[in-house]
Every structure is written in C-alpha cells, then in structure tokens.
C-alpha cells in the first residue's frame, strides 16, 4: 500500500486499497459460509475463530482502516513532494529563460553600440573637414596678403594680418586637438593598431623636433637598443606622444640645455623616458599636468593645454601608464623634469634575429647641432 501510495496516482492507490479490502472481506465471507475450507495454523489462533462474526467484523474494520489510512497518508505526502518538485523545475526553467533573454538583449545592445561608434567616427570626420576647410581658405588668403601676393601692404595692415594668421593657427591647432580627443574617446585607436618598429618611431619624432632643438642649441641624447621586437600599437599615435614630450622638454629648457631620450625593456614592458634640464614643475602643479587644458604657469609659452592630456589618453588606450617626476632624478644638479611612459604586455612579434632583444646592442647617440 505504501509503495502504491508513493508510485501511483492517489486515485489508483485508493482503488487498490478498496480492492484489497473487498478481497479480504470476500475471503472471510467465503470461509465463514464454508465455501472454501479453512486451514488452521496449528497453535496460532483458536481453530474456530474464523466462525465468530464479531471477530471477523472487527478484523475487517481494522484492515479497512489501516488500508485506507496508509493510502491516504502516503498519497498525500508524496503528492506534496511531487508538487514541490514541479515548482522547483518551473522556477529553474523561468530563471534560465530570463538569463537567455538578458543575453540576447545585451548582444543587441553591443551591436547598437558598435554601430553608434561607427556613426560617431564618421560624424567626426565630417566635422573635421567642415570646420577646417573655411579656416584653411582664410589662412591661405592671409598668407598670400602677408606674402605680398595681393599687392603692396602697409606696415599696419601687414601686422594685423600676421596677428590674424597666428590666431587662425591657434584655432586650427585647437580643432585638431579636440577632434583627436573625440576620436580617441570613440575608440579610434583600435582601428590604427599595427606592427610598430619603435626605433623608427623614435627616429620620426626626433625629426619632428630637430629644428626647434637647433634653434635653442639644445643637445638631444638618445639611447635606443638597436634591435627591438616589433610591438602591436599605433605608430602614428606613439610618435604623437613622443613628439609632444620632446616639444615640451625643448619649450621648457633654456638654451644649451640637454634632453635625454631613453628606450628600455622593463620586464615584459617597454619603458620610454624623456628627461630635461629645464625649468621643472612645481609640486603643486605636478598632479595636474595631465589634465585637460592645463597650461604651464608661464602662459607666454603658447599651446592648447591639451597636449599632455592627449598623450595620457593615447598611452592609456594602449593599456599603459604615463607619469612625470620633477626635478629630474637623473640630473645631478636637480633641475628639470622626467616624463616616463610604459607600454605593457608587449606582444613581441619575432624580428628574425633570434632573441630579438639584446642589451649588448644598445647605442648611445648624442645629437648636437651644428
């Protein structure tokens, strides 16, 4: 009965109980009426018990009660258990469906974001062109007038035109910087990644600033390993950062000063340092220099104030870090500042020279102006 109550539907269990009871009653009745012979279990019970009505009735009642009671209890209990089981399965099911829906929603959002990013970059491209084209036209005309291409110019006129031209240049620089920031923030650098030869980037940056250094008779000392593994980065952007650091160093270093550029390996990272012997940075300013629009105390030194913040964004977009120290710890006389940036987890692409990185190949070059 108990087994039936667990395994079978409760109605079936009750039916079985009823059936068992009817069978027992039938057997007792048949034995009583003498239809079937009664077999006496010797010594178990008195031999003519099966003929006593009250006894038979009592037994039948007790049997019936037990059968139905046990059927009821077990069916109920197992019914409860089955119900709980169904509830748990339903909960799990709906939980799973919810998670799948969340995943689908998230994927859709991602596609939308990627599309949005594409739109934004295209939009910025159009903005760039439309802002700069009229300014370029104005600047060209101003240059022509100043250059005498539109006839003789009075001193006063020439002066005003030159000032105007300078202001337009400032505006163009600012527009370039703002567009740069927008592009970097929109993830543009991801599109620019490629195999980069660092010594070449250094070479290009030095070329960018050679003139400025010459004008101030400043010595550029370069320490770059001759053979370096190629890294995954944006060559143009790294050049942008280096040129910016070198330009600043030149700007804030007095004539005949020295600027040292060093590229070295630092664990699995690459460390690049630009140190100068110039004015240095005050402790109050030091934490702020990488902020947007921060300009040096000396406002006579022109600039948009965005150079270092752009450099910071570029290095951070490469997963690196950039910082400054002042005074320059490498300077014996405690002058100047040193800017360092790290490019992390360099995925070195084999340069075919075997170990690809040999300290033995370090070359120290001093570039002095003639």
């Amino acid at each position: 009965m108990i087994i039936a109550g667990i395994l079978l539907h409760y109605r079936v269990a009750y039916t079985l109980a009823t059936f068992a009871f009817v069978l027992a009653a039938l057997l007792a009745g048949l034995e009583y009426s003498g239809a079937i012979p009664h077999i006496n279990l010797e010594g178990f019970t008195p031999p003519d018990l099966y003929l006593q009505e009250t006894y038979i009735l009592g037994i039948l009642v007790a049997l019936g009660a037990t059968l139905f009671a046990s059927a009821y209890m077990v069916a109920n209990i197992s019914g409860e258990l089955k119900k709980r089981q169904r509830e748990i399965v339903m909960l799990k099911d709906s939980g799973l469906r919810e998670k799948t829906k969340d995943l689908k929603d998230a994927t859709r959002e991602l596609y939308k974001l990627e599309e949005g990013r594409g739109h934004l970059l295209r939009f910025l491209g159009v903005v760039a062109h439309d802002l700069k084209a009229p300014l370029s036209a104005v600047q060209s005309y101003l240059q022509l007038m100043v250059g005498g291409f539109a006839g003789e110019m009075a001193e006063k006129q020439k002066h005003m035109l030159e000032r105007s031209s300078q202001r337009i240049t400032q505006l163009l620089d600012l527009i370039n910087d703002l567009l740069d920031i927008s592009r970097i923030e929109a993830g543009q650098i991801v599109n620019e990644l490629g195999e980069v030869d660092l010594p070449q980037v250094v070479e290009d940056s030095l070329e960018d600033v050679q003139n400025q250094a010459n004008i101030k008779d400043i010595k550029l000392e370069v320490q770059v390993p001759r053979s370096m593994p190629h890294i995954q980065a944006s060559a143009a952007r790294l050049r942008q950062v280096l040129t910016n650091l070198l330009t600043n160093a030149i700007k804030y270093t007095p004539e005949k000063g020295t600027i040292k550029l060093k590229v070295a390996r630092s664990g699995t990272n690459i460390k690049i340092e630009v140190g100068d012997t110039g004015d240095g940075i005050t402790p109050e300013e030091l934490p702020k220099i990488f902020e947007d629009f921060h300009r040096g105390i000396d406002s006579s030194k022109a600039g948009t104030g965005l150079g270092l913040s752009i450099a910071r964004r570029i290095i951070e977009a490469h997963g690196g870090r950039i910082w400054a120290e002042s005074p320059n710890p490498d300077d014996k006389e405690g002058r100047g500042s040193k800017f360092t940036f790290i490019l992390p987890k360099v995925t070195a692409i084999a340069d075919g020279k075997g170990d690809g990185w040999s300290g033995r190949h370090e070359k120290v070059e001093s570039r002095v102006l003639d």
């Binding site: 062109h129 700069k132 036209a137 620019e192």
Partner: protein, 133 residues
C-alpha cells in the same frame, strides 16, 4: 614653355589662392572642382603636374587615384600628383594607402592651409623629378 598645372579642389577660395601663388612663378593653371571634372581636364590638357584635393563631392580624391590605376589611364602614369589634404595627416594617409595599395611618400603630400613657400618647394621638387625621367 611654361609648365602646366591642374588644380582639382572643391573649395573656390582654395583654387584661387593656389592659382595666385603658382601663377606668380609663371606656371600655367587649369582648375577643376571635383574628381570627374579633374579626370576630364587631365585627359584634355595633359598637365605636367596634378594637385589633387582628397575630400570633394561627386568624386573624391581617393576615387580619382583608384581610377588612375586602371589601364585606361596608363598614358598619365608618369604625371606627378601632389595631394592636398585638410584633415590630420595620419587619417588621410591610412585611407590613401588602404584605397590605392601604395605607400604615401611625404613629398607627394601637402596639408592645408598651405604656406606659399612650402607649396612652391613641393611643386618644384615634383616637376624636377619628372624632368629627370
């Protein structure tokens, strides 16, 4: 015989400014305001140098460069091209190299706004190279 220069740029002020600079040095100037007109004039006039703006409506500089790689224009393969650009160098260079599968050399390129001195130097260099060939 003065050298002939074709200027292809959609900005009329730019065309005028460039014309003034170049004519002052005795060059003969033809202009075009978009890629289509530029190609037409290239065929008709056979200039010694073509100055090409990259961003123009109807047919831009990239499309022109791509078109010129086709066999139909083989006659003009030796014609030096000076590229004018008004967006920051790198974005244009990347797109140029992508679309034409050529490496953009620094001498072939000048960024707007152009200083008269720089422009004349570039033009002189490119024309000088052609003469040697």
């Amino acid at each position: 015989m003065p050298e002939k220069i074709l200027i292809v740029d959609d900005d009329p002020d730019m065309r005028e400014a460039l014309t003034i600079i170049l004519e002052s040095k005795g060059y003969q100037i033809i202009t075009a305001q978009d890629g289509l007109e530029g190609l037409t004039n290239l065929k008709a006039e056979n200039p010694d140098l073509m100055m090409l703006d990259l961003l123009m409506p109807k047919m831009d500089g990239f499309a022109v460069l791509k078109e010129l790689q086709d066999g139909r224009w083989s006659r003009f393969r030796e014609t030096p091209i000076l590229i004018l650009s008004s967006v920051r160098e790198e974005a244009s260079r990347r797109r140029y190299e992508l679309e034409t599968a050529l490496k953009l050399k620094v001498d072939d390129y000048v960024e707007k706004p152009v200083t008269p001195g720089v422009l004349l130097e570039r033009v002189g260099k490119l024309l000088g190279k052609k003469k040697v060939v």
